[in-house]
Symmetry: C2
Subunit: 369 residues, 2 copies
């Protein structure tokens, strides 16, 4: 694995050198992890002129139960008390290595830390690394996809077990906690994001936080969860009906969202414009009259963070590449009545390889539980 991290750092170094910076300071935790194999709390990565260093704020690196940094990378641990800010220490080290320019993540670094960095190394010209590391992260290697695939299996298992239990009378909060416990039981590092369980009028609401409302007969029940496995985060969302038979309006709404989600999934081909994938899903809902209250996105990339590039939205620029994992998650919420969301994680693959690879395989038939 060390080769992987070193190769990623080489790509970033080439990018920086081409931009005129001899050194780069990576502070966003997911970016640090991507390049160093681990991101102890507060740690930053210096891509130095002569040597790369993982600079940590205290004796937290390499603790049991946490990921370990790439062994080829030198780890510098600052003294626990008064050791100062790793960002500032890294700036000092960069200047010490003779770098005259340092690219930093201006979209992550605070104004105060940026200023402190300027003070400790006044001869260092501070440039903007922009989202260079985020862009490197968009296309995944098979090792990364394998972590997502295992995470998706875990989420499918947790969801499947929940469906076998009695649901009526239990609260959204309890169901969400139960799902999170099952994720960990099956080997997840933890949930990929706060599990959402929404019943009745709450169902289908994007990002709903579980309440004390109990599941009732006749409810829509929508669930959105994901597992983190070796740092990689996936997402699955399903909507069910509680009781013996769904009402007509429930079947109609479900079929509509299902059609929208399928249209989105089927448009996932290498080279497709992100906005076209969004439009494929969105226009199914639009043409049925659901223009109000749609979310800004119908999907997004996943990886070391749950919400990464690309964004599948009307204003999105750019095209999809092969080996990019994305969610497809359209939904409709009717205020006061509830709604439907269906959400999968898929990997974009060329048609010759069988088309988009579905990672979250729980059925999307409308189940009456």
């Amino acid at each position: 694995m060390s080769d992987v991290y070193a190769a990623r750092r080489t790509r970033l170094r080439e990018y920086c050198n081409a931009g005129g910076s001899a050194a780069a300071l990576v502070s966003r935790p997911a970016n640090v992890r991507y390049l160093a194999g681990a991101a102890p709390r507060g740690a930053v990565l210096l891509l130095g002129k002569t040597e790369d260093l993982l600079v940590c704020g205290g004796p937290t690196a390499g603790r049991p139960g946490q990921e370990r940094p790439d062994e080829t990378l030198r780890v510098q641990i600052l003294p626990p008390a008064g050791g100062g800010d790793p960002v500032v220490a890294a700036g000092d080290l960069a200047a010490g290595q003779g770098a005259d320019s340092l690219a930093v993540e201006e979209h992550h670094l605070t104004v105060a830390r940026h200023r402190a960095l300027g003070s400790v190394a006044p001869r260092l010209r501070l440039a903007d690394l922009g989202s260079a590391v985020e862009q490197l992260r968009v296309v995944k290697d098979e090792e990364e996809i394998s972590c997502l695939r295992i995470g998706a299996e875990i989420a499918d298992q947790a969801l499947g077990e929940l469906l076998e239990s009695i649901l009526v009378g239990r609260t959204e909060r309890h169901l969400a906690l139960e799902l999170e416990r099952r994720l960990v039981d099956h080997g997840a590092d933890g949930p990929a994001f706060p599990t959402s369980v929404a019943t009745g009028p709450n169902a289908g609401r994007p990002g709903h936080r579980p309440t004390d409302r109990r599941v009732e007969e006749g409810d829509f029940l929508s669930v959105c969860l994901g597992a983190t496995y070796r740092g990689y985060r996936c997402e699955i969302g399903r909507t069910f009906v509680i009781g013996t038979a769904p009402a007509d309006w429930q079947i109609e709404l479900y079929d509509l969202v299902f059609a929208a989600q399928r249209a989105g999934r089927e448009s996932l081909v290498p080279g497709a414009a992100c906005r076209d994938v969004d439009r494929a899903a969105r226009q199914v809902l639009d043409s049925a009259g659901y223009t109000e209250g749609l979310t800004a996105l119908t999907g997004h990339g996943v990886g070391l963070e749950i919400d990464e590039d690309p964004q599948l939205s009307p204003a999105a620029m750019g095209k999809l590449d092969a080996c990019v994992p994305v969610t497809v998650e359209p939904g409709v919420h009717l205020p006061g009545r509830g709604g439907v969301r269906i959400d999968d994680t898929l990997v974009v693959r060329p048609e010759a390889d069988g088309g988009p690879e579905l990672l979250t395989i729980t059925t999307k038939e409308l189940l009456a539980l």
Copy 2:
């Protein structure tokens, strides 16, 4: 409650005006919540020249299951797609109100957002608000302390129930999840921070993340958890022995840490220097020869965040005031053997009012479970 938030904003406005800024932009979520009663994801608070505004990035404000913003405050919701950054929108609004200077939280705002703010309102002079809101938050009112007290009761209940169950053979991860479930069962919004359960050689390690190690006879078991109640976060930590009788070294180590923790608690009086409280606890461990591996802090403030000012450390400046809630949490960890941590949340009170108020009341006797 609206009066409370308006009064807090008045105090901040007076501070800003004294510093020469007609307006302030608060972006750190806990600070937004403190001043507005709610902090929808991404929302910022503009303390304007003519009107205060809570600027939100999308239709997320006031959702069921979440806190509601102060009703006297106008809420501005940006359109979901392409509505832009609430920070930038707030800068535009501040300029529109005729402010010539805007104080921002440079320790929270990123360089990129700061620059975007400068571009949208080039005539607005950007100043630094510093940690003015954090400093307002240090001394709590009785309403805030009441939330912390309820949170502490919930944490005590969850811990008490765990102690009545069979522990041997269960993993750290399962015990941590069980505690978090019980916190929510008893009415917590959620855990105040990731619950730490540490057994055997892991016991007593600060910030230990639960592993798959199982509880064994003869282990030390240390647990650190907290509840969030109406946004307020408390903390309790205890260490137990598994089995019929603790070994001599376990009793000695426990008694030592207990003495250190008691010394810290007893030094919590209004007017005490923070570093003296730290020293009171630390010197008990120091004089027994445990100088290596002590944590940088022996305690810290709690409130809307789990780690607030004041810091109880050797280098801390400042004194304690009445009505400041802090943790006192010394510990010793012996590599390969385990260790002891004891952690309470207390409120500093004058001697005339009975001295420090202990919020976390679970026994600190050494229990053999």
